[in-house]
Amino acid sequence: MVLVVAEQRGGKLNRATWEAIAAAQQAGGPVKVALLGSGLDAPAAELAAADVAEVIVVDSAALEEYTADGYVAALAGLVERESPALVFLAHTYQTRDFAPALAARLGRPLVTDVTAIKKQDAAITYTRPVFQGKLTAEIGASGPAPHFVTFQIGAFRADAAGRGAAPAPVRKADVTIDAGAIRQKPEAPFKEAKQSVDLSQAERIVAVGRGIKAQEHLKIAEQLAQALGAELAASRPICDAGWLPMDRQVGSSGQTVAPKLYLALGISGAIQHLVGMKGARTIVAINKDAEAPIFEIADFGIVGDLFEIVPAMIAELNK
């Protein structure tokens, strides 16, 4: 049995949960889904539409707000009782916060950021990126079951998750959590002062990465954006350095965009960036490194010096 750990906040399911369900269905065998929180009727009913054997709800006031300690305690009890062969999770920030502690507590192996699994007899091989996606590794795991696996966002399609002919049964698990043992005290989630730039509405985006090298070089990217009628955006390191404001950042910690044209200048294409822009219709990559992962998802690519190519593009556009 594969146990999928769903993710919800305020009763709203994370879309990546459906990706983990799709991965579990493709792995073969029965699939169960665990849902943790408080007051979970709506998301439990939503999950019951999936083609799964059962939805197991752990409903506790102590789980109303996510905490690592609360989730580790609840899931350690649940996993020991259900004894699945595999536990699947979406590789979200929340999963990254508790899954390693859960696996360590149970003494079970954990493979993170997986993009594909291959089953051969009883052995499973996990495929995942290393070196920021510049290489792909095949990983084997040993140790007692279950093995914990987290899936890279977008590696499986949420709409590939099969729906059942009838709703799956929903069962409340009898797990007691000692609220006093939860050491993290969370406050309400918030957004920083409202974003002044809504990149999600932009038709064209020129985005810069480390390859721009210095803040004063942003000028040529701005000129190109102007010539194309595009918004200027950046990968995380540029915003970390303070060269552009955080609200211009595209990627898992910034905005998710889907413009007609996404032109990536000197962006190598770490997965944290790709998840924010791979929905763009046409992707152009200009990078001096022919092995940069950005070229794997680009429609058009130029390997070369952006400080020569960009001025030439501006000249061509202004002709």
């Binding site: 406050e187 957004k191 092995e291 130029i302």
Partner: protein, 261 residues
């Protein structure tokens, strides 16, 4: 406050990766190395906390002899001393093995705060910090963008208020008691660089070398079966020629084929 910072030596981003003959890892004999970027932010945060609250910053690295390079650099930036768990096997070991080795080396030192980067630029499992917290019995919080400390006073134990980054521009403050472990997000602060004075001072600072004990045979473990360059998912049209020719051709294709400008 007594702060440990876990750092890792990784190959530089600029180094052209080459796969070893067995196709199980990179051929890094002639690679250049640097401090893992998120770890550099963790170190900077530790140095700032020490400046504000006093105490000591100890860097801890698990890796081969060459990791001494990043340990010296960290001490040149201001760390007071170091613990080097020296082992060739730990260079590409899984997170549990690394966390076990670090936990064994630092447990007796009774740190108030342990910082790590949120993940490494090479293996990128993003696990060592959280697994280490579990092994040390400390509460943890991950992907941290701000740290506020309320030091202990009298019988009141100290606590932290930290800003966690959630996805899509959301954040959340969280309070946790000391001692605790935090994984630090890149961009939490502005990095300092080593001064000449710092580099000179680092030469006199202590590096405690530790030999890791071998892991129990039944411990859960990951094994790299092979590495390869990724296949292209899309048919990418690569445009060749001089910069001027390529620029012209790209504009033409964006206008006529893709019709996006």
């Amino acid at each position: 406050m007594k702060i440990a910072v876990c750092i890792k030596q990784v190959v530089t981003r600029e180094w052209q990766l080459r796969v070893n003959d067995a196709k199980t890892w990179i051929r890094d004999q002639d690679a250049s190395f640097e401090l893992n970027e998120p770890d550099a932010y963790a170190l900077e945060e530790a140095l700032r906390l020490k400046e504000k609250h006093g105490g000591e910053v100890v860097v801890c690295s698990a890796g081969p002899a060459r990791a001494a390079q990043v340990i010296r650099e960290a001490m040149a930036r201001g760390a007071d001393r170091a613990i080097h768990i020296e082992s060739d096997a730990l260079a590409a070991a899984d997170a549990f093995a690394v966390a076990d080795a670090i936990a064994a080396a630092i447990r007796d030192e009774q740190f108030d705060l342990v910082l790590t980067g949120l993940q490494s630029d090479d293996q990128g499992f993003g696990q060592v910090g959280v697994v280490l917290a579990q092994k040390l019995g400390m509460p943890h919080a991950t992907i941290i963008m701000e740290v506020q400390v309320s030091p202990s006073s009298g019988s009141e134990p100290g606590s932290l208020r930290v800003k966690r980054e959630l996805e899509g521009g959301w954040f959340q403050w969280m309070i946790l008691p000391l001692p605790a472990l935090l994984t630090i997000q890149s961009g939490i602060n502005q990095l300092r660089y080593a001064t000449l004075k710092g580099i000179m001072a680092a030469k006199k600072k202590e590096i405690r070398k530790v030999t890791p004990s071998s892991a129990p045979v039944d411990a859960p473990a990951l094994r790299i079966l092979g590495v390869h360059f990724p296949e292209k998912g899309k048919k990418t049209q690569m445009i060749a020629g001089s910069s001027a020719e390529a620029a012209k051709e790209l504009i033409k294709r964006l206008r006529e084929d893709a019709r996006v400008i």
